[in-house]
Assembly symmetry: C2
Homo-oligomer: 195 residues x 2
DNA sequence: ACAGCCATGTAACTTGTTACATGATTTT
DNA sequence: AAAATCATGTAACAAGTTACATGGCTGT
């Protein structure tokens, strides 16, 4: 979803060809190291965007070398892009892998949840240290994307660490009371639900 | 990735069939409303797990009604599961959709980054309010998953909001200096890189 | 000559979603 | 009889990754 609109946005700036879109994406979002968009995805996305009528192939440019298939954004594309810009992005809290891991660890007998939590805590601390060191090497003016991303990473890592502390607190509160089995509701048509 | 190991973990608890795995997943992770795993995914994942040798079909149980194909975890499966439990989950900061949106908004001329930021801020505030209200309706002892998830959501939303403030600060710092175009390096083989 | 960029793709695979298909069972 | 659950799947699609294939241009 992100790459699709990113390509659309870069085409709104000026017409470009696939290879150029890929470099521009890396330049804007923060380099090949942080988000390496594969050529396959760029060309596939361009085809889908063209099929949807959001971009159009403008023609082929041929200098000295291979031909470049130039794409441009359409009016419909511009409209879709604006809608994207001015709509909110919902963070998906629930589809977090560690959350699933923790909940499964709590019901599966032969694993210690506290060790699972501790493993994650150590991991997050290492990550926090790594990005804090990395931060010093970036310059706000020339590497805005990198700086903003690290700011975000730090805040999220701190939030995750505080959450892990909270989880341990909550678990102590309920003190080894096993999770209830899923409540089996009676089969068939349920009676009218009273509110 | 999460669902795969969740199914494995639930089978480590006891042998189950596909339909039961789906209900158990919902019961443990927090209900159909928060993460509705589709039957298609459960059965597809079971096939893949069986092919990998992590689970095995134990046989068919036939009561009054349709047959149930019971699966159980294998020793290899148990090993893989333990490795999963005791390894860290890396949060993916960079593949955040709003981050991409912001960076693209900053280079695309015809959109106001501050309005994009404000839209997201309003969205996050609404979400924060919604989960704060929802929190009151849950009970720690009987709805642990829901409570923990909301704790996490609140902390992340607060982190995101603080980050948005920080972004505006950073943008004022560089005060409408346009982002530099991607630096075009000379083509051909680069000379030896000096460290 | 060779390394490495410029430029385009195809094919296979993974994880997950959506829609469809089938049929038995159970309670109101 | 209708509604809803129990139980299993197939097919098509979307987003993304990995690997492969092709060929020209350019600087050391």
């Amino acid at each position: 979803m992100s790459v699709r609109y990113a390509i659309l946005g870069l085409l709104a700036q000026k017409p470009r060809h696939g290879y150029e879109l890929r470099s521009a994406f890396h330049a804007v979002v923060g380099g090949e190291e942080t988000w390496n968009v594969k050529p396959a995805q760029v060309y596939a996305t361009l085809s889908r965007l063209a099929e949807a009528g959001w971009v159009a192939e403008e023609g082929v440019e041929q200098g000295s070398g291979p031909e470049k298939r130039i794409y441009d954004i359409t009016p419909q594309g511009r409209q879709a892009l604006e809608q994207w810009f001015y709509s909110g992005v919902a963070p998906e809290h629930q589809r977090d892998e560690f959350f699933v891991k923790l909940m499964i660890a709590l019901v599966t007998g032969d694993v210690q949840p506290r060790r699972v939590i501790q493993t994650q805590r150590v991991f997050l601390y290492r990550e926090l240290h790594a990005v804090t060191v990395l931060r010093q090497s970036y310059n706000l003016r020339t590497q805005l994307a990198q700086v903003l991303m690290i700011d975000k990473a730090i805040m999220h890592l701190e939030a995750d660490l505080r959450w892990l502390d909270m989880v341990e607190g909550r678990l102590e509160e309920i003190q080894r009371q096993p999770l209830p089995e899923p409540d089996i509701r009676p089969r068939g048509r349920p009676r009218k639900v009273e509110v």
